[in-house]
């Protein structure tokens, strides 16, 4: 063999090895780089999933949870171990039945049930995960919490309702005030005219009594006496003043109800104004009379309290809600059914706060639902009696809008007492 040839072969082989080594080195570096980039994108993806405000879960083909992000863990309010492997429907109630697991993406509203038993509304979307052959391997489900939005929507609807009620009340007040005016004026006229006529009749009677007993005058006198007896003039003279009083008093009541309705629904100024809370309570009682008068006796104990800075219309709503709730609670008891329940309203000074207490001896609030009474839409009342918004709105008004406090003390079967604390203005605190 020609050594030259061998040498060249060797050189070629060596060059080939160097080429291969270079290739391996390149491949290794590429591999490293792509692993690194894979690691980075996985981490990025995990970060994204973890940072997402929306809850995300991956389900297997049977609907059991395989993976979940932090938001899902937080919203379900359970540890990861209590969630993984369980069907999603254990924690989430949606109104589209089994439609969640279909071949296409679906969206629906659902309720998340936390370990504590609270439910909160959410918007859920579910899409199938497809394998290479197009078969369904699982599902990815995402949901967002919409309870805040729900609450705002509810408050907006409520505000709109109050506004249109206010406009209507103003219109009704105008329509009713005019007839109240002229019915009252006519009553005044009739009463005064009656008094004047009675006076004249008595003068006639006095004249008649001096007529001789016999002759044509005597006959006429006898006829007059008979006519008087037929009409029962004595009864009329005695009873008519009472009838006038009754009519005038009743009209006064109508006027005060219209006024209360107007005060209650008039949005008034948008600023907080110094307000006599006792006056608002009185107003509330006038409006809610129909709710409590057949079920409970009312006691009021209003202390002399300084004016506080509030939105009067809002506070009227709060008290109306509490009084109506008290009436409903009393109505559910045997005493309430016979009109012998009790509702007690009290105002007092309590440190830096004005305290308004609405207490009843009604059915009370069972311990099991005590935590949920302020949840929007939570209600134990039958359809048509309550929307579950009353206490949620009351708390929002007292706590958020006025910097006050709303407390409840209740024993099932014995009664409930709500306490509203409103901050006193600074000059009243010093006094």
């Amino acid at each position: 063999m020609d050594p030259e040839i061998l040498k060249r072969r060797l050189e070629r082989a060596e060059a080939e090895i160097r080429g291969l080594e270079q290739l391996i080195e390149n491949k290794t570096r590429d591999l490293y780089l792509s692993q690194e980039s894979l690691r980075q994108s996985t981490q990025f993806l995990n970060n994204v999933l973890g940072a997402m405000a929306n809850a995300l879960v991956i389900l297997d083909g049977r609907g059991n949870i395989q993976e979940l992000n932090k938001a899902a863990e937080r919203m379900l309010a359970r540890g990861r171990a209590d969630i993984e492997g369980h069907p999603l429907t254990d924690f989430l109630e949606c109104n589209c039945g089994t439609g969640l697991y279909g071949p296409r993406q679906t969206e629906c509203e659902a309720f998340v049930r936390t370990a504590g038993g609270n439910t909160s509304p959410c918007l859920l979307s579910s899409s199938p995960l497809l394998g290479d052959e197009g078969e369904i391997e699982g599902y990815v489900c995402v949901w967002i919490d919409i309870s805040e939005r729900r609450q705002l929507e509810m408050e907006l609807r409520h505000a709109q309702k109050m506004e249109s009620l206010g406009q209507m009340a103003a219109g009704v007040a105008h329509e009713i005030n005019t007839p109240i005016q002229f019915v009252g004026d006519s009553l005044t006229f009739l009463r005064e005219a009656f008094d004047d006529m009675l006076d004249i009749v008595q003068q006639y009677q006095a004249t008649r009594d001096q007529w001789p007993q016999d002759g044509p005058l005597g006959l006429a006198a006898a006829r007059l006496t008979t006519a008087e007896d037929d009409a029962d003039l004595e009864f009329i003279a005695e009873e008519a003043p009472g009838a006038f009083e009754r009519a005038t008093g009743g009209l006064g009541r109508v006027a005060s109800i219209v006024q209360a309705l107007k005060n209650f629904s008039h949005p008034g100024s948008e600023e907080k104004v110094p307000t006599d809370i006792n006056q608002i309570l009185q107003n509330t009682l006038t409006l809610a009379r129909n709710e409590y008068k057949y079920v409970a006796q009312l006691e009021t104990d209003f202390a002399e309290v300084p004016e506080v800075l509030v939105h009067p219309g809002d506070m009227g709503q709060v008290f109306l809600n509490l009084v109506v709730n008290a009436a409903h609670a009393v109505e559910a008891t045997p005493a309430g059914k016979t009109g012998n329940g009790h509702i007690r309203l009290r105002t007092a000074l309590d440190g830096d706060f004005l305290l308004v207490e609405v207490a009843d001896d009604g059915c009370g609030i069972p311990d099991s639902i005590r935590d949920r009474i302020y949840d929007p839409f939570f209600t134990t009342k039958e359809v048509g009696k309550g929307t579950g918004q009353g206490l949620a709105i009351a708390r929002r008004i007292v706590v958020d809008k006025h910097g006050g406090n709303l407390e409840v003390e209740s024993t099932a079967g014995q009664g409930t007492c709500f306490r509203v604390f409103l901050p006193l203005p600074s000059e009243a605190k010093a006094a």
């Binding site: 105008h174 329509e175 005030n177 007839p179 002229f182 009252g184 006027a255 107007k262 008034g268």
Partner: protein
């Protein structure tokens, strides 16, 4: 046209015949006290006024054709001596704003007859004692201008985004006309008032700032003074300064006495508003007073001779027609003769009187000083005032 001895003439206007008949029936017994007429539309009211020279018109707001606000504006121009009242069930802010420039008082429906009678009687009590038709016309003409500087300061304070009530109240309290107008509106039935309001700060919480700025705009408080002199014994600047000094002094004294009634500042600020009426409506009378005056305050006799009534009565009659609280009106009427007030002791009129004497350096009414029990404090206040004045100088 006017005869102070005849019965007051009142015209009621409402498009609802039931209401008008009800009113006619309810006021049957008052036919001896008043001469009453009724009209069922704005046009009918204007026709009636051609031959029935009413001292007061009481009209509904919502009426077809000429409505209440329009009717009152016609009356203000054609029958300027007539007091103009609204009796309304309910009205929008917009409607009230249209009526404000021409309305003395706003009464809310429903109103019981005795209250209506009292409101009307009280509004006219001083006016009917003034015999000169000319003077009555000055009073019924209700748009009195504010001092331009005060008006501008208020406008500026209102333009601040999210303005605070206190600086705005302070601004209004510098000016008698602004103060008077704001008390007029907030004491009216338009706000379904519960109790009388005597302080600007209280008035503002009732009124709200949006309505305040709109009311100020339409109320005519910014029309120009005709030919009233800016300076001189009855110059506008001097009148304003004097009112402010008396208001400050009276407020100091009230604080010193721990006097619990409100309205001291308002009453003191308004006590010489009679001169402002003259400055606006009758500057020639004011000049005549000035010419006959050797200095100091004109006597009541001199005012009677030249003007036809005292400046206290003149101002009081205007504020009464505006429906201001009785105690404030009384203080304005009797700030020179506080012993003639309904009650005795320390009251608004007495404080305004004594504060006025201190500021002017004139002698206080000796019988009031004795009967009010303030004879000991008075010299102290007086020397404090002169010390403070000397220091300021």
């Amino acid at each position: 046209m006017f005869d102070a001895d005849r019965k007051p003439r009142i015209l009621f206007v409402d498009d609802d015949p039931d209401l008008l008949n009800g009113m006619r029936h309810a006021l049957r017994r008052d036919r001896k006290r008043w001469d009453l007429a009724y009209a069922s539309s704005g046009q009918a009211a204007l026709d009636t006024l051609e031959h029935f020279h009413a001292d007061m018109v009481v009209t509904d707001m919502r009426m077809p054709g000429i409505d209440g606000a329009e009717l009152l504006s016609h009356i203000a121009h054609r029958f300027p001596a007539t007091l103009r009242f609204v009796l309304s069930g309910e009205a929008s802010d917009e409607m009230a704003l249209r009526a404000i420039p021409y309305t003395h008082q706003w009464i809310a429906k429903p109103i019981a007859k005795p209250v209506l009678i009292e409101t009307i009687e009280r509004s006219m009590a001083l006016l009917t004692r003034i015999h000169s038709p000319e003077v009555r016309e000055w009073i019924a003409h209700c748009d009195l201008p504010a001092a331009p500087a005060n008006y501008q300061a208020l406008q500026a304070a209102l333009r601040v985004p999210e303005p605070d009530l206190d600086p705005i109240a302070a601004c209004i309290e510098q000016d008698p006309v602004l103060t008077g107008r704001i008390l007029q509106w907030t004491n009216s039935g338009f706000f379904g008032r519960r109790q009388e309001i005597r302080r600007v700060r209280d008035a503002l919480t009732t009124l709200g700032l949006r309505l305040l700025s709109e009311m100020v705009l339409v109320s005519g408080v910014f029309h120009t003074w005709k030919e009233a002199p800016e300076h001189g014994p009855f110059g506008r600047a001097e009148l304003l300064e004097h009112s402010l000094l008396v208001a400050r002094q009276a407020a100091l004294m009230a604080a010193d006495l721990e006097f619990s009634e409100t309205g001291v500042w308002s009453a003191a600020l308004l006590h010489d508003i009679g001169y402002l009426i003259l400055a606006d409506r009758a500057p020639e009378q004011l000049r005549a007073l000035e010419n006959r005056l050797a200095g100091g305050e004109p006597t009541r006799e001199l005012e009677l001779e030249i003007v036809g009534c005292g400046h206290g009565e003149l101002g009081g009659a205007l504020l009464q027609a505006w429906g201001l609280p009785f105690a404030v009106v009384e203080a304005v009427v009797h700030h020179q003769d506080p012993e003639n007030c309904v009650s005795s002791g320390v009251h608004l009129a007495g404080l305004v009187h004594l504060a006025g004497a201190i500021v002017r350096g004139s002698e206080p009414n000796p019988s009031y000083l004795a009967s009010s029990g303030l004879a000991e404090r008075y010299p102290l206040w007086k020397s404090e005032y002169s010390q403070a004045r000397d220091q300021a100088a």
